[in-house]
């Protein structure tokens, strides 16, 4: 067992376990912390896959910003434990779990049936160059998507500020 294989199994189990933790833990703050752990794990998996830059960005954006936001909001609400963690309804619950299980089986089955384990890719680019070509690709082939995302982010920023500052609404006046 080489280091790479060991690393994969380690990261996969950490990621999966903390991912399951997100869903199963009843305290939302622990959920959020679990998710942050998952993010770090995913970032590490990216790094093992050679996507160092994306791994860093994943860390900065997800673990560093988005999840901090989640944790902050949760702490602001100060929800220690929830009254009803899971949704009601036995039948629908059973169906939902069945769906999840089936889907997992189906996807895994699909992969097992269709693709074989591919060998290691040939070239291993240096991280800096990968980032450079990433940038080139982003500003040539995907430039419209990039611009559209810029607009989207602007709109979202305005919208969120509007939502958060809304003085109107039903709860404004007491």
């Amino acid at each position: 067992m080489t280091a790479d294989i060991f690393l994969f199994w380690l990261l996969a189990s950490v990621t999966l376990l903390s991912g399951v933790g997100v869903v199963l833990v009843s305290n939302p703050i622990y959920s959020a912390l679990c998710l942050a752990m998952t993010m770090v794990g995913v970032s590490a998996i990216f790094a093992t896959l050679g996507a160092y830059f994306i791994a860093g960005v994943q860390m900065i954006v997800y673990a560093g910003a988005v999840m901090v936001l989640f944790v902050m909001v949760l702490m602001l609400f100060d929800l220690k434990t929830e009254i009803a963690t899971f949704s009601r309804g036995r039948i629908s619950g059973a169906i939902k779990i069945a769906i999840v299980g089936l889907l997992a089986g189906l996807i895994a089955g699909t992969f097992a049936m269709t693709t074989t384990i591919a060998g290691k890719p040939e070239t291993k680019e240096k991280a800096g160059h990968a980032a450079k070509s990433l940038g080139e690709l982003l500003f040539t082939k995907y430039v419209f998507g990039f611009e559209a995302l810029g607009v989207l982010l602007l709109i979202i920023a305005i919208g969120v500020v509007g939502l958060a500052r809304s003085k109107g609404g039903t709860h404004a006046k007491h």
Binding site: I95, I99, L103
Partner: protein, 643 residues
């Protein structure tokens, strides 16, 4: 200058004027709006003059300036170009439309100066000119139809221009609906012609007409031309569709002069003249045209004798004169019809504008019983009106004499004519002389019946200039078409008119040689009858006022019938409109409400029930929605894997 450029200027100049005035339709400055509109039409007139000058420069047999701007429609074997053509016929029309049109625009500047919607008014007027030009310039029936509908629209808009008055709005509606009947027939005629000949182009149609006349009543040409003629009766106010024109006098007076006397109402005549080779091949149609024309001429004249509204009198006079034009068409005297169209455009526009001047002076009073002795207050109006009067009753050498005489002569002499038609025409002329004299007497002469507090005054210069110009034209307009016998008598003056139109007009076959003495006799008869009738009217209304009402009393029910316009409107209501309304009501109640609505309600109930059923799924629980997505995903993936 380039012909297509000239043509574009000719057509688009009023349209640009319409756009400008239409976009500033809320403005009240009558001078600005009037200047824009008038100069737009005047520019159009100038280019028309240039075009006609060019046309005159061409050799007589190839006088035709055709411009095709683009291919408009091409569907299967229907191919229509946005093509416009100036030839001998449309040359006359564009000169009349733009020339008289610009005079009337000028007149409107003075007439409409106190109106709130003056920019809107001028916009409509320019749009009308634009559409009228489309109508007369179009080289095929479809372009003509566009103009035909366009002028109908403008007519509707302008009749109902003061739409806050309900009767005026209703008059507009009446004009529109009546015209629709005619337009439907026009469309049918177009369909038949297209079905038969496969083209809508005038020159192609005229070239494709068979050499032999069609005697059957159900032949394609006869039916097609008949339908076209029904369309013409709608637009040109002939029996049975004339009823809208007198009501159309609800519009502003310059509109009546332009649309309902000089230009639009002559569209039917123009259309028939344009297609004259085709009409010539359908003698049955020709006969009906002649009869309808003569009947209209007489009937409208009788009604005109009893009316008290100055504009109504003129309106019925217009209907009557249009009848003459159709009579001329019917007897194959297309040249005469065009001739009368032109002279009529001059003197009737003049008289309408004169009446507008009178109405203006009388502060919107139209009842001639409240006028009288206006001669001294309105000298210019009176004098020009006098010229118009002399022209319309056919006193030589005024223009009306030549054209009307030509029509009467042809209705007698042409193989398609008949002495009865001549007699009707002569009767109409007599009656015309009577009611026009009556109008003169009651309005300008005799004792003043002007109510106290009204101070008639002469109109401003923008209104009198057009009157003067049209007055001059009414006098001399006929001199270009002096009949042969008269010109022989005067020393071989050329009949410019006939020579001009000759290439476009199909000769009436089997035309006998003209008998000079007979023609002189007929001329003398009609002029004599008209003069006598005029003198009688003068006597009745000026010398012995009151004798007229005695005559009317003596006539008893006959007078009543005529005074009430033969109860035609009422008859239409009883025979057509009310049954139609009742039938529609029945259809509405039994078919619409009880059947179609029920069906839709039932369908709605089904949808509602189904919706209520499905709504139970849409319970707002997002996780349930997500579950549905998941189920779908599982199913799709399973199916994909099974395959």
């Amino acid at each position: 200058m380039n012909h297509s450029l000239l043509m574009s200027i000719l057509i688009l100049s009023p349209f640009v004027g319409f756009l400008i005035n239409g976009l500033r339709y809320k403005k009240h400055n009558y001078l600005v709006a009037g200047t824009i509109a008038t100069s737009a039409v005047f520019i159009s007139f100038i280019s028309a003059v240039f075009l006609v000058v060019d046309l005159v420069g061409l050799p007589p047999d190839s006088r035709r300036i055709a411009v095709t701007f683009f291919e408009w429609i091409r569907v299967a074997n229907l191919s229509v170009d946005a093509g416009f053509v100036v030839d001998q016929i449309s040359a006359i029309m564009i000169l009349i439309i733009t020339g008289v049109g610009s005079l009337i625009h000028l007149f409107s500047v003075g007439y409409m100066h106190h109106d709130k919607g003056v920019a809107k008014y001028f916009a409509y007027l320019n749009l009308f000119i634009f559409n009228m030009l489309l109508l007369v310039l179009g080289d095929n029936l479809l372009v003509m139809f566009v103009g035909w509908e366009g002028v109908g629209l403008c007519s509707y808009l302008l009749i109902g221009f003061w739409f806050t008055d309900e009767t005026k709005a209703a008059a507009g509606m009446k004009a529109f609906v009546t015209n629709r009947v005619g337009d439907a027939a026009f469309l049918l005629g177009m369909f038949i012609l297209f079905l038969t000949f496969g083209t809508l182009n005038f020159s192609e149609l005229n070239a494709l007409v068979p050499a032999a006349a069609e005697t059957s009543w159900l032949g394609a040409i006869t039916l097609g031309t008949l339908f076209l003629f029904v369309g013409a009766t709608g637009k040109s106010a002939q029996i049975p569709l004339y009823i809208w024109l007198p009501d159309a006098m609800a519009g502003p007076t310059p509109v009546s002069a332009l649309i309902h006397a000089a230009t639009m109402v002559t569209a039917g005549v123009y259309m028939i003249v344009r297609l004259n080779p085709m009409f010539m091949m359908a003698p049955n149609t020709m006969m009906i045209i002649a009869i309808i024309g003569a009947a209209t001429a007489v009937m409208a004249a009788t009604i005109g004798m009893t009316q008290w509204d100055i504009k109504k009198v003129l309106a019925y006079s217009t209907v009557s004169q249009l009848g003459y034009m159709f009579l001329a068409c019917g007897v194959g005297a297309f040249g005469a019809a065009m001739f009368h169209l032109m002279t009529h455009a001059f003197f009737k526009a003049l008289m309408f504008l004169g009446s507008g001047s009178v109405i203006h002076a009388m502060h919107e009073e139209q009842d001639i019983r409240k006028m009288g002795a206006l001669k001294k207050y309105l000298p210019i109006t009176h004098f020009t009106f006098l010229l118009g009067w002399l022209a319309i009753i056919g006193i030589p050498p005024f223009s009306g004499f030549f054209s009307k005489d030509e029509i009467l002569w042809m209705s007698f002499h042409s193989p398609l004519g008949h002495p009865v038609l001549w007699a009707a025409g002569a009767l109409g002329a007599t009656l015309t002389a009577f009611y026009m004299t009556r109008l003169m007497c009651l309005t300008f002469w005799g004792a003043s019946r002007v109510p106290k507090g009204t101070h008639p005054h002469e109109s401003p210069i923008t209104m009198t200039i057009p009157l003067v110009v049209l007055g001059v034209l009414s006098v001399i307009g006929g001199w270009i078409g002096i009949p042969h016998i008269v010109s022989d008598f005067l020393g071989h003056l050329p009949n410019v008119w006939e020579e001009w139109l000759h290439p476009m007009i199909k000769e009436v076959p089997n035309m006998g040689p003209a008998d000079a003495s007979l023609e002189w006799a007929l001329i003398a008869t009609s002029v004599g009858l008209a003069s006598v009738s005029a003198l009688v009217a003068y006597h009745m209304y000026v010398r012995k006022p009151g004798s007229a009402s005695r005559v009317a009393d003596a006539m008893g029910p006959a007078y009543k019938i005529v005074y009430n316009k033969y109860f035609i409107d009422e008859a239409y209501f009883a025979a057509i409109i009310n049954p139609l309304v009742k039938g529609s009501r029945a259809l509405w109640y039994y078919v619409d409400v009880n059947f179609i609505d029920k069906c839709t309600y039932w369908a709605a109930d089904v949808a509602k029930g189904g919706g209520a059923l499905i709504r139970s799924l849409q319970n707002g629980n997002m996780q349930q929605y997500a579950m549905y997505i998941g189920i779908g995903l599982v199913v799709v993936l399973s199916i994909l894997l099974m395959r």
